[in-house]
Symmetry: C2
Subunit: 201 residues, 2 copies
């Protein structure tokens, strides 16, 4: 099946196709996609054909068609039930971010260890004490957990999310988390991103 | 010179070496690095030797030595003056994030278009109305700008940061920004990261 690097590129191309569709652009070239994901023309065409897709004409790829095909192949067009653990500075920013819903990620619950925070927070999303994490994840069939707790609590929260039944985790805390083989884990590393910019000055 | 993909991998290996050093681990293998950045053993050794570094013994790479060498080659060990534009939900979370300073990124100023927000915000970092962005970036020789404004304002803010003299931009807004060739731009795309997790369920 597909390598992680191919899947990551396809997800970014999918986002770019969404942008083109919103701006009523009908065709796009593999050269444009290559610019977005930082690879070559050839490698983009290989990625797309590795999904068994063609649809390439002299004018380039038909934007709407390719987007729908990629969405189907990678199951990107369905809605994913998501929760966030840790309602501090970063967690509340993510909790209130309305674009996630448009992108297919339905934030169904938030959790925090501080009862005081749970009571004071103003959000339309239901929030719970972290003690109820496993039960709520199970009851609501939450598939994806976002971790925004301090580093010292991250592994424990990952274990609880997995026990509750999530399939994947997006981790914002700067520690390595150990998860079983079948759980999909991705780390959002702000510092690595800043370094990636500064190293190229 | 190095490809962007190689630089990105090295930045993540550098972060991992920092973690190992903090935990008093003296040696690490290229296999471990390959696991962290999602490539092969061979490709990691190629990345490291492409910087002209050796230091590989039977026990693996010496952690402290390799970290210092990578830090020097990619100039990761110097302090970079940084600012953030947009002090809303995400911007204030980033403004207050103390770890950036330990990682070498010194947040020297914050900016927002809302005077009300500038007056009410509690932070040890100096904040200014966005009208002063170009002057402050110039006066304080700010090298890296972080964009956390609504999508509609992102391009304008990028232009102002560049006029002020930044060398690079980390963009959190979900729009494509156009920058001149010599400016280093990196987009932090939360939605692409969520999709990268969900596509692998
Ligand atoms: N603020 C940023 O810009 C930023 C950037 C990158 C990474 N991070 C990382 O994201 C995480 C959150 O950062 P923050 O700035 O929002 O911190 P914060 O201290 O503002 O928020 C942490 C929240 O987690 C809660 N919490 C603590 N232990 C918990 C537990 N066991 N279970 C559930 N909730 C718990 C706290 O009550 C608090 O509300 C940290 O790991 C941080 O390193 C933050
Ligand atoms: N909140 C999240 O978790 C999240 C996640 C991913 C991406 N983003 C993106 O990050 C950006 C900020 O998101 P947010 O949730 O913090 O939004 P927000 O509305 O809470 O904050 C935006 C801030 O920018 C300021 N602003 C508006 N126009 C400006 C201008 N021209 N110059 C300077 N400041 C200006 C506003 O006064 C406000 O304080 C958006 O582009 C959003 O799409 C947010």
């Amino acid at each position: 099946s597909l390598s992680n690097n191919t899947i990551e590129r396809i997800c970014r191309i999918y986002g770019y196709l969404e942008y083109l569709e919103k701006n009523n652009i009908e065709y796009a070239s593999s050269k444009e996609f290559a610019g977005i994901v930082g690879t070559t023309d050839y490698s983009v065409r290989k990625d797309i054909s590795s999904l068994g897709l063609t649809g390439f004409s002299r004018r380039g790829y038909a934007v709407k068609l390719l987007k729908d095909q990629l969405g189907e192949k990678l199951k990107l067009s369905r809605t994913i039930k998501t929760c966030i653990v840790g309602l501090g500075k970063l967690g509340t920013a993510i909790l209130d971010y309305e674009s996630f819903r448009d992108d297919g990620f339905n934030m169904v619950a938030g959790f925090d260890s501080s009862i005081n925070k749970i009571e004071r927070i103003h959000t339309p999303i239901e929030v719970f004490p972290v003690g109820q994490l496993e039960d709520i994840v199970k009851q609501r069939s939450i598939e994806l957990g976002i971790i925004a707790v301090p580093p010292v609590a991250a592994q424990d929260i990952a274990d609880k999310l997995i026990k509750g039944g999530v399939k994947g985790i997006l981790n914002f805390s700067p520690v390595r988390i150990a998860v079983p083989e079948e759980i999909v884990l991705h780390n959002m590393d702000f510092t690595a991103a800043l370094r990636f910019v500064a190293a190229r000055f």
